[in-house]
């Protein structure tokens, strides 16, 4: 098509594009209209990248104690100092003790301006065990001064740094858990939907049975059986597996429903007449037609896993310190005294809610976009 004809027939061109578009392009086009889903997607990508490069993004080490900076409130980031623009900076924080109650209080010293430096040389760390560097995304200079975007905890550790490091564990726990659940759900769901009959009904009974047990008590029971002394990484894998052991039923239901719907389609019959094996029909002919559904269902399953991990760790049955996950962080906010004294300790909870919401919106958007009969 020459440039001339494009200009002449914009409508025809749009039509032609629509008819010749690949399924993935159509899905992407519909997905783009879902503003909330697109925003969520970018948010999750940003979060994922920050979690991946947590050592770089976090200004401080997540486990280093700072004895003289315990339970410091969040340092607000300002742009203007005495009416003048100086770029992002924080005020220095003075630590004083109340003479009567001997309680530690912090006062912002509005005279001392600490500009935020980007690509700041702070503590040294090792990136993925490949090389050692001390460059952080941001930081402030000054003796005993820190930029604590979300305050510090009772041992003086920077909550923002811990939050970013926790995102790595919590997000990956969700994804790994879904991966386990995906394998189980896909295998059992496709077998159940394709063969039908007594295989179907027994797998259905199994799924109903698993759904009928209260999740958290069962998770707790299984998680409590893990010995405390085990390697944290191993515990982590087992916890995600325990989450998946119950989470797969949802995926299996989606897959089974799809299989039942397309089992009697002509092209499946054609493949069977052409002598394709069952395995080939399932993997080459039926599964590709439902990939988009499965991806949407997977996205919607991630938040369940994240919530499960958070709940278990919060109760002290899941991951345990020194591992940093959102649930572990929320353990610090477990009692009324600490949250009334330091409400910023609840910020990992906010992170959980926002992440779960983003996954839900993304999943909803994907599901709508994947519907071939949609607009």
């Amino acid at each position: 098509m020459t440039e001339q004809s494009i200009a002449d027939e914009p409508i025809n061109k749009r039509k032609e594009e629509l008819y010749s578009a690949r399924p993935w392009q159509l899905i992407w086009r519909r997905f783009r209209k879902h503003v909330l889903a697109v925003v969520s997607m970018w948010f999750l990508i940003l979060l994922g990248v920050s979690a991946l490069f947590a050592e770089f993004v976090a200004p401080y080490d997540p486990v280093t104690f700072e004895r003289l900076r315990t339970l410091a409130p969040p340092t607000g980031v300002h742009l203007f100092h005495e009416g003048q623009f100086v770029g992002p900076f924080v005020y220095a924080l003075e630590r004083t003790r109340d003479a009567e109650t001997t309680r530690v209080t912090y006062v912002h010293d509005t005279e001392e301006v600490l500009p935020i430096r980007f690509f700041f040389a702070g503590d040294a760390y090792s990136m993925f065990g490949l090389f050692t560097t001390e460059i952080h995304l941001f930081g402030v200079e000054g003796r005993r001064q820190q930029v604590n975007l979300l305050g510090t905890d009772d041992l003086g550790r920077d909550v923002f740094s811990r939050l970013i490091h926790g995102a790595r564990v919590s997000l990956s726990a969700g994804l790994v858990g879904v991966a386990f659940a995906f394998v189980l759900g896909l295998a059992l769901g496709s077998i159940s939907g394709y063969f039908g009959g007594w295989i179907d009904s027994s797998i259905q009974r199994l799924m109903e049975f698993i759904r009928s047990i209260p999740t958290i008590p069962l998770w707790m029971g299984l998680a409590a059986a893990l010995p405390i002394a085990w390697d944290p990484i191993f515990v982590y894998v087992l916890i995600t597996f325990i989450l998946a052991l119950i989470g797969w039923t949802y995926l299996a239901r989606v897959v089974r429903g799809q299989f039942l719907a397309i089992r009697n389609e002509d092209y499946v019959l054609a493949a069977r007449l052409a002598g394709a094996s069952e395995y080939r029909i399932i993997t080459k002919h039926m599964l590709p037609s439902m990939t988009s559904y499965i991806i949407a269902a997977l996205t919607l399953a991630v938040p369940e896993m994240i919530l499960g991990e958070t709940a278990l760790s919060f109760l002290g049955l899941g991951l345990r310190p020194p591992v940093v996950s959102w649930g572990v962080l929320l353990q610090d906010a477990q009692n009324l005294r600490s949250i009334s004294l330091a409400p910023w300790l609840l910020s990992p909870g906010v992170a959980v809610v926002v992440t779960v919401l983003a996954f839900n919106f993304l999943g909803d958007g994907l599901r709508d976009a994947a519907d071939p009969y949609g607009q």
């Binding site: 209260p214 999740t215 958290i216 707790m220 029971g221 049955l317 477990q334 009324l336 809610v353 926002v354």
Partner: protein, 328 residues
């Protein structure tokens, strides 16, 4: 109908057997057994068990028998004598510990289930009949937020707000001065002051999801010809909506009562730990942490049992409510 109920009840039996197996498995899962734990307990108080004594104890308690035999002994004791085993930590029979806590759990769960429905049904109907109105958007946001917020976080936030801003004492079901006091007007008021947080926490999570379900169901039904017919016959909007589409849209509600129960019990566990309620949650958590496995296993068994009975109940209710489903 009776045949349906009988068949459905019979189907629940294998599920129950399966659940008891799982509960028993959880009891058996941690490394070591009752005697190991008992020996450790004695060692802490300065006494000592020799290996011979330990194996004698194991023999006497039948811990060397095959797993299936042990399971058989455990389950027959429960079914025939109501004997759930012995709690190591509390040094008392399990059955003496669990019943009042289970009663409170069940009471809390059923009240919050009723509240959940009382919120979800009218709001869902409103959202569907006034689609894209301001309130519809408000409820939609509420629905998503409620789905994304973990129960314990909501409990923490409510506790914090009522402690710092409303100056109320929270946690538990009673203030200390009423803890052991006989029932009186003051105690009832005190109970209500404490009760609202767990009820709000437990019902919002469920209501958030159900509002979405109710709204979607209603929207599906509202466009159907029978609704139009009802309008054409000159019925008022109120009559049309509540007599026709709502009844049909309620079916999925009824069929998920059974699922609402496990969700409520799950939510209750963590909420109760945070709010320090005398329900099953904290005791179950404590039992699991101390590996007091007979106590933990019994809790899981009974909570699951409630759920199975709840599902059975909702299936029967559904068949009774919707004539199309009968005997299917």
């Amino acid at each position: 109908m009776i045949a349906f109920i009988v068949r459905r009840t019979l189907l629940a039996i294998p599920t129950l057997i399966f659940i008891s197996l799982i509960a028993f498995l959880i009891i058996q899962l941690p490394p070591g057994d009752y005697v190991t734990a008992y020996a450790a307990q004695l060692r802490q108080s300065g006494e000592h068990l020799t290996a011979v004594q330990e194996s004698l104890l194991r023999d006497r308690m039948g811990l060397n028998d095959p797993i299936l035999l042990q399971y058989w002994r455990w389950i027959t004791a429960i079914v025939l004598r109501g004997d759930f085993g012995y709690s190591l930590e509390w040094n008392a029979p399990v059955s003496s510990l669990i019943w009042d806590r289970l009663a409170i759990t069940l009471a809390l769960s059923s009240i919050s289930l009723v509240i959940t429905w009382a919120i979800a049904i009218p709001v869902g109907v409103y959202s569907a009949t006034r689609q894209y109105s301001v309130l519809d958007y408000v409820f939609t946001v509420f629905g998503f937020l409620g789905k994304g917020t973990p129960d314990f976080l909501l409990a923490l936030i409510l506790m914090w707000i009522s402690f710092v801003y409303l100056n109320m004492d929270v946690g538990g079901l009673f203030s200390t001065q009423y803890q052991n006091a006989p029932w009186s007007m003051g105690k009832v008021i005190n109970l209500l002051q404490h009760l609202w947080i767990p009820l709000v926490v437990l019902s919002t999570g469920g209501a958030a999801g159900l509002i979405r379900v109710m709204r979607a169901n209603m929207l599906d039904e509202m466009g159907k010809p029978y609704v139009e017919t009802a309008y054409a016959q000159g019925l008022s909007e109120r009559q049309v909506v509540w007599n026709y589409p709502v009844r049909v849209a309620l079916n999925p509600f009824i069929s998920t009562v059974g699922w609402a129960l496990p969700a409520l019990f799950s939510g209750d566990v963590i909420t109760a730990v945070v709010l320090n309620l005398p329900t099953t949650g904290p005791l179950l958590l404590q039992a699991l942490k101390m590996q007091d496995m007979y106590l933990a296993g019994s809790f899981i068994l009974i909570l699951s049992l409630f759920t199975v009975v709840g599902t059975l109940f909702s299936d029967i209710l559904l068949a009774w409510f919707d004539p199309r489903i009968r005997y299917a």
